[in-house]
């Protein structure tokens, strides 16, 4: 057997580690460093935790955090629609391949296009309200994006409309890779559709569901800027301001990259926790499987 010095393997992987550090670790370290400075231009003096304190004192940040948290309500909706529709498609209803393509189309549209089109559709005198008025439903013709009460929910609906395609395809792919024998056995045993879903399909989808919930949650927290920017720019008032928009405003508009970095670090912490939960679920399931 070939014998080498103990540090030699580390030498071989060192270039890859250095590359990863440069690509991933350096920016994170830099953001954390920025969050402790009053940045003017490309650098600035250290201010300790001042940026974090200023962030928590800022009412706009509190509004933004609340709205980002509210957007997490879209996750169970996305999950429910994705699972139900993917199961229906899996049952190979007539024309299921066509439906699959149609349902995925919104997901391949560029978000800014979706945002701009939706902003026309949902304006007070836009297409949606014109249709409602045409149907005599004037009372439902609301100011979907111009009202503080409705704007965040309208934005959420647009996000769900576009993002749900990914969930459907993800779950459908998992279902199509699943062995059909358990389902067939359940059918022969006379299990109803609901029971097949509950006792056969959902357990099979468990890992995918965990993955999807984490990914969708991260999307809601850190990937919806383009929707908000194009649909409402955070208004009316602060009613649709989210953490990403707050970061953008502080970092680029208000010339306060330090505060923007502080919020980015907090957001990174939140998403890291979500990923941690995912790993925890994974390890717990592995333990259960070993025990079984």
């Amino acid at each position: 057997m070939l014998r080498t010095r103990p540090w030699v393997p580390y030498l071989y992987v060192a270039p890859a580690i250095a590359l990863l550090a440069l690509i991933f670790a350096y920016p994170i370290v830099k953001v954390i460093d920025f969050s402790t400075r009053l940045i003017r231009g490309s650098t600035g003096p250290r201010v300790g935790t001042l940026n974090y304190r200023l962030v928590f004192e800022d009412p706009t940040f509190r509004d933004a955090a609340k709205h980002s948290a509210l957007l997490l309500l879209a996750v169970p909706v996305l999950l429910f629609i994705s699972v139900v529709v993917s199961v229906l498609l899996y049952e190979r209803m007539r024309g299921w391949k066509l439906y699959r393509s149609i349902l995925f189309i919104p997901y391949i549209l560029a978000v800014p296009i979706v945002g701009i089109v939706a902003s026309y559709l949902f304006s007070l005198n836009g297409v949606v309200n014109s249709i409602l008025r045409g149907m005599g439903l004037d009372g439902l013709a609301l100011d979907w994006l111009g009202s503080e009460r409705l704007a965040l929910w309208t934005v959420m609906a647009v996000i769900i409309w576009r993002e749900v395609g990914f969930g459907i395809i993800l779950f459908l792919a998992r279902l199509l890779s699943m062995s059909e024998e358990p389902l067939e056995a359940a059918r022969i045993d006379g299990a109803s559709w609901w029971n097949r879903l509950r006792y056969v399909i959902l357990p099979e989808l468990r890992g995918t569901i965990e993955f999807y919930v984490v990914v969708a949650s991260i999307t809601m927290l850190a990937w919806v800027f383009a929707y908000v920017y194009t649909l409402t720019s955070g208004g009316p008032g602060t009613s649709t301001t989210i953490l990403e928009l707050y970061i953008y405003n502080q970092g680029l508009r208000n010339s306060l990259p330090g505060m923007a970095s502080a919020v980015a670090v907090l957001l990174l912490g939140a998403t890291t926790i979500l990923i941690g939960i995912r790993f925890w679920f994974n390890s717990r399931r592995s333990d259960e499987e070993v025990t079984a």
Partner: protein, 456 residues
């Protein structure tokens, strides 16, 4: 009265967009990739990089710019390599290139805080001593380009702010279309008559916030004695909660409650609101002078009027037109500052100043411009009143962006949604100003020094 100026373009400038983020990271890279300018230190002809903006707003100005660059080369042998920048990137990209030590030789600059932040970072050179005193004085750079007694910009072209209206709809409502209202009561009365005639008096869109900015500039100014008052409000030395400093928002509330502004104002963006006027769905709209030709195209040349925001305020700035200018400066680390200065002087030579109108139908930012070449009666009247006459600064150029995003933007949208009163908007503005001060102690210091220049 002080003479200052500023453009409509805070609008898109504030829309740095996600693209701005990309620009922030790509800027230095692009600058480095762009190669350095050919220095003239050896005495031979030089090639200078110029990053500019303006065609997006002052349609046709590119023709003048190309002609100016060509004539400068013919006269001096020096080449100017212009790059027309996007609205989102023209300032952020400069800031990043300057930080990386690779700025262009000549840089377009919006007025006020948009270039003053770069002055405070040491990225822009003072023009005193580089550009002749006469050009500095004539170029319409405005007082907002002066910091600690030094001037950092020369002007480019002019932009006036006011209300554009359809004379036809005024006539239909029984109003005197040639004598638009000058005071607030007359204005409200005119709105009432227009509404009674079945016409929406004012077309507006506040979704992107810029209507709120234009409205604030046209109205808050009326209760101020000088631009320094505006600066002192923005940095908290004056109190927004005093009735005269939020009266403009109370007036906006009145317009909303009277139904004089379209009910979908929160669903529309600035130019969608203006289009209501251009398509005769509304009689009036806040607008700027570069948009007048477009209004004339839509409504007919004889059917468009333009007037100063009617007055309710009692400050020294009330009733006076608001004017702004775009401009150019020289980066502190520019390698060909002498040649760059010569080019700025050439832009302001008498022949070039006149050529801006003849080639591009834009009003130059230069007090020596002979307006007899302007043949359009409305544009001529605007030039005489807004540019040649006494005019006010565009005070939004003094506004910290935090105030824009967290006070002006929010207050205007909420008032127009019926969710906030003018008085509450004053409270919000006060709170945001206090927050801004906490977050930007160093900027407060710079602003205070700047205020001394504004007090003259």
């Amino acid at each position: 009265m002080e003479h200052f100026e500023r453009p409509l373009s805070r609008r898109q400038l504030l829309q740095y967009g996600a693209g701005g983020l990309a620009a922030a990271s790509l800027g230095p890279l692009l600058a480095a990739c762009g190669g350095s300018s050919n220095s003239s230190s050896g005495g031979g002809p030089a090639t200078l990089k110029m990053w500019w903006w303006g065609q997006q707003e002052a349609v046709g100005i590119q023709k003048w710019m190309q002609d100016t660059v060509a004539k400068f080369k013919a006269n001096t042998g020096n080449t100017i390599a212009p790059t027309l920048m996007s609205t989102d990137n023209v300032i952020p990209q400069f800031t990043n290139a300057a930080a990386a030590g690779h700025p262009p030789d000549i840089q377009f600059l919006f007025n006020g805080i948009y270039h003053m932040e770069n002055v405070w970072l040491g990225y822009i050179a003072p023009l005193n001593g580089l550009v002749s005193d006469q050009v500095l004085a004539d170029s319409g750079a405005t007082q907002l380009s002066v910091f600690e007694g030094k001037q950092y910009r020369v002007g480019f072209y002019s932009i006036g702010f006011g209300i554009a209206y359809s004379k036809e709809l005024f006539d239909q409502a029984g109003l005197d279309a040639d004598n638009p209202p000058q005071d607030w009561d007359s204005f409200m009365s005119a709105c009432d008559k227009l509404k009674s005639s079945g016409v929406q008096p004012i077309g507006a869109g506040v979704k992107d916030g810029f209507f709120g900015e234009w409205y604030l500039v046209n109205t808050l100014t009326q209760n101020l004695e000088s631009p320094a008052d505006a600066l002192n409000l923005f940095i908290g030395n004056l109190d927004w909660r005093e009735p005269k400093y939020h009266e403009h928002w109370v007036k906006l509330q009145e317009l909303k409650e009277a139904g004089y502004i379209n009910d979908d104002v929160n669903s529309l963006q600035l130019y969608q609101g203006i289009q209501l006027m251009q398509t005769k769905k509304a009689a009036m709209a806040l607008d700027t002078t570069p948009d007048i030709p477009n209004n004339q195209k839509q409504l007919g040349a004889d059917n468009v009027g333009y007037f100063v925001m009617p007055t309710f305020g009692t400050g020294a700035m009330a009733g006076i037109p608001i004017l702004d200018t775009q401009g150019f400066g020289i980066p502190a680390k520019g390698q060909n500052q002498d040649v760059a200065a010569k080019f700025l002087e050439f832009m302001h030579s008498p022949e070039r100043v006149q050529a801006m109108w003849t080639l591009s139908q834009q009003i130059p930012a230069n007090t020596t411009f002979d307006a007899s070449v302007v043949d359009d009666p409305l544009i001529k009247a605007i030039q005489e009143k807004w540019v040649a006459g006494d005019h006010n600064a565009y005070i939004a150029d003094l506004m910290p962006t935090k105030f824009w995003t967290d006070a002006m933007f929010i207050a205007s949208q909420k008032i127009l949604a019926g969710d906030m009163t003018g008085e509450e908007a004053g409270d919000l503005a006060h709170d945001v100003t206090e927050t801004w001060k906490k977050q930007n102690p160093d900027m407060v210091e710079n602003y205070t020094k700047w205020g001394q220049d504004l007090n003259g």
